[in-house]
């Protein structure tokens, strides 16, 4: 994208054929719940990739799998030249300094008994042991200023912070070790509207200043549109569509993407009442028994016999990559 001077052709993060499953007990038996299947994408330097989809689509499983917080069943994840899934112990810790995460609930993500100062110094002590205590403190103060907070906040405990302040601390804690890739898992969803706008602006500013690559997981589609260069649409753990942000919002190819965009309420009484939307029927099926063929077919208004027989592969169509047999003719 032209607005992005850091973008080159190299990749910051490369994910191939990622599969994640959980062992769960169902009807008295142990069964595998497939949370992600065949997920692959590249994240460029200084690029922001949005990941959207309903609850149960596998967004958070993807974030956790990339950080190795949950076991991966198959596939590969490369962070620059490091094979993330092969690393253990100290080597994994080294790499984790390059890949950090911002969590959904800013207050819950902080240790309630730890002052902000300690919460910000701890990742440096663990991941940047070469720094002296003075250097650590200097970095923490500089980081705090970058997220728009003051030195007075250093002595606070999490319960003394507002939701927006706690999320700023969460962002500072992730960025203080200067990662190349930041994963934000629903960073706005616990915040009020006016605070959401502030945090979105902050993330954009920090990214533009440092050339950070970012994965932005959200069900807030307007925020995704504001922040992202490309968008990946997940449904029941499979990729439905990937496209550049502007073309996805202008000309979505997958019927699920279109339904998702149509469902967003319009904050304008005239427009909201003029449009006649037909809500998508039903809800996302259980990952325990996904539909045969295309997983979206049970809710798709365009499904035909072939959709039940054969899972569609991702294919190039217009400016999108889309997994739908009928995209292009609908």
């Amino acid at each position: 994208m032209s607005r992005n001077p850091y973008r080159t052709s190299a990749t910051a993060l490369s994910v191939r054929a990622l599969a994640v499953s959980y062992a769960v007990r169902h009807a008295g038996r142990s069964v595998r719940l497939r949370a992600l299947e065949g997920v692959g994408f590249d994240l460029g330097p200084a690029e922001t990739l949005g990941i959207v989809g309903e609850s149960g689509s596998g967004k958070s499983s993807l974030a956790r799998a990339l950080l190795r917080l949950i076991p991966v069943e198959a596939g590969s994840v490369r962070l620059g030249d490091a094979d993330l899934l092969a690393l253990r112990g100290a080597a994994l810790r080294q790499v984790r300094a390059r890949l950090q995460m911002v969590f959904q609930d800013g207050i819950a993500a902080l240790d309630p008994r730890q002052r902000v100062r300690d919460a910000l110094e701890e990742p440096l002590a663990v991941l940047r042991p070469e720094l002296t205590p003075l250097e650590r403190q200097a970095r923490v103060r500089a980081m705090l200023a970058r997220v728009g907070l003051e030195a007075a906040h250093l002595e606070r405990f999490p319960h003394e912070l507002s939701g927006g302040q706690a999320q700023r601390i969460g962002i500072a804690r992730a960025l203080v070790v200067e990662p190349g890739v930041l994963i934000c898992d629903e960073p706005l969803s616990s915040l009020d509207v006016s605070i959401r706008a502030q945090i979105t602006t902050l993330l954009r500013t920090l990214r533009d200043q440092s050339g950070l690559s970012m994965i932005f997981i959200s069900h807030d589609l307007p925020a995704v549109q504001q922040l992202c260069d490309r968008v990946l649409v997940l449904y029941l753990g499979r990729i439905m569509e990937i496209a550049a942000c502007d073309s996805l919002f202008r000309a979505a190819q997958h019927p699920y993407t279109r339904a998702l965009l149509q469902s967003v309420p319009v904050p304008d009484p005239r427009a909201a009442r003029a449009r006649r939307i037909v809500p998508l029927a039903g809800e996302i099926p259980s990952s325990l028994s996904p539909p045969s063929g295309c997983v979206f077919r049970t809710r798709c208004p365009y499904a035909v016999a072939r959709c039940a027989e054969e899972a569609p592969a991702l294919r190039r169509l217009g400016e999108s990559e889309v997994a739908c047999h009928r995209a292009g003719e609908i």
């Binding site: 309903e54 609850s55 939701g163 009020d192 509207v193 006016s194 959401r196 706008a197 069900h219 807030d220 589609l221 307007p222 925020a223 549109q225 504001q226 919002f249 202008r250 000309a251 339904a259 998702l260 965009l261 149509q262 469902s263 967003v264 309420p265 319009v266 904050p267 304008d268 009484p269 005239r270 427009a271 909201a272 009442r273 939307i277 809500p279 998508l280 029927a281 039903g282 809800e283 996302i284």
Partner: protein, 276 residues
């Protein structure tokens, strides 16, 4: 009743609920906390009034005050008149003739509002048996009709299930069906779609819109989402720090907001840029 589309003036003008100078205070160790600081609001039959505001603005406190669901520590003053009858100071037994039958509530989190140990059919039919004195068979028949009205597929099967067996969207529809069981004149809804995904939210909103058109019930809808208000409300109130800052016709509020706070709220609403 007029047409399904909200926004058309769906009211016959009679006053259903009249709040005057409503104040709500909590005595805390840190001093007195004022949750509502003098609210004046009128709701007319059949209309939808949306109340927007951020967390802590007093939106939920307003709804709970109307239903008399406040904790004992709450000190409430002012007046809440329902069709001329003063609700403040009524004994629980008297209040119970109003709540559930005339005024019903849809809560934000159906999982904690529904009884986890009761089948859906029993929770729904209890409303008609208690408030309308229907026999079991008749009450169950009505419950199935209401489940159908909120577009639950296979209502007979779903009716035999417990709340934990249903999805979030299904539970919220059950809550709406339950609110409608006693044919109320006024439905209070507290963030009824906040816990739902956008596609399911769109389904629930269209169910609400459809039912309001059929039943003629008035709706007092509390939400932080201006997009939902734009779609459903006839009039919109903006709350902040326990005060109703501004109350206007929906279109007027969006197009000519009077208060600076309303303007900033509108400016911070995320908008999706889509081709026409």
């Amino acid at each position: 009743m007029s047409t399904a589309g909200a926004g058309s003036s769906a009211t016959d003008g009679a006053t259903l609920l009249q709040l005057s100078g409503l104040r709500l205070q909590y005595a805390t160790r840190a001093g007195t906390l004022e949750a509502l600081a003098g609210i004046d609001l009128e709701i007319r039959t059949g209309e939808c009034v949306g109340i927007v505001g951020e967390s802590g603005s007093g939106k939920t406190a307003l709804l709970l005050s109307i239903l008399g669901l406040l904790p004992p520590a709450a000190r409430i003053a002012g007046s809440i008149r329902y069709r001329g009858l003063e609700l403040l100071g009524l004994r629980a037994a008297e209040l119970n003739r109003i709540r559930g039958t005339r005024i019903a509530m849809v809560f934000q989190d159906p999982m904690s509002a529904l009884n986890p140990c009761m089948r859906i059919i029993d929770q729904l039919s209890e409303v008609s048996r208690v408030h309308r004195g229907l026999a079991r068979r008749a009450a169950e028949g009505r419950a199935l009709t209401m489940l159908q009205a909120v577009h639950i597929g296979e209502p007979a099967r779903i009716a035999r299930q417990y709340p934990h067996q249903l999805s979030g969207g299904m539970r919220q529809r059950v809550m709406i069906a339950m609110a409608l069981m006693a044919e109320p004149e006024l439905i209070l809804a507290d963030e009824p779609t906040t816990a739902l995904d956008v596609t399911v939210q769109a389904q629930v909103l269209s169910v609400l819109q459809e039912l309001r058109a059929h039943s003629g019930a008035a709706l007092l809808l509390v939400t932080h989402d201006l997009g939902i208000v734009a779609q459903l409300a006839d009039r919109v109130g903006v709350m902040r720090s326990g005060r109703l800052l501004e109350l206007a016709d929906c279109q007027t509020l969006f197009e000519q907001p009077r208060e600076a706070y309303t303007q900033s709220l509108l400016a911070s609403v995320p908008r999706l840029e889509l081709p026409a």
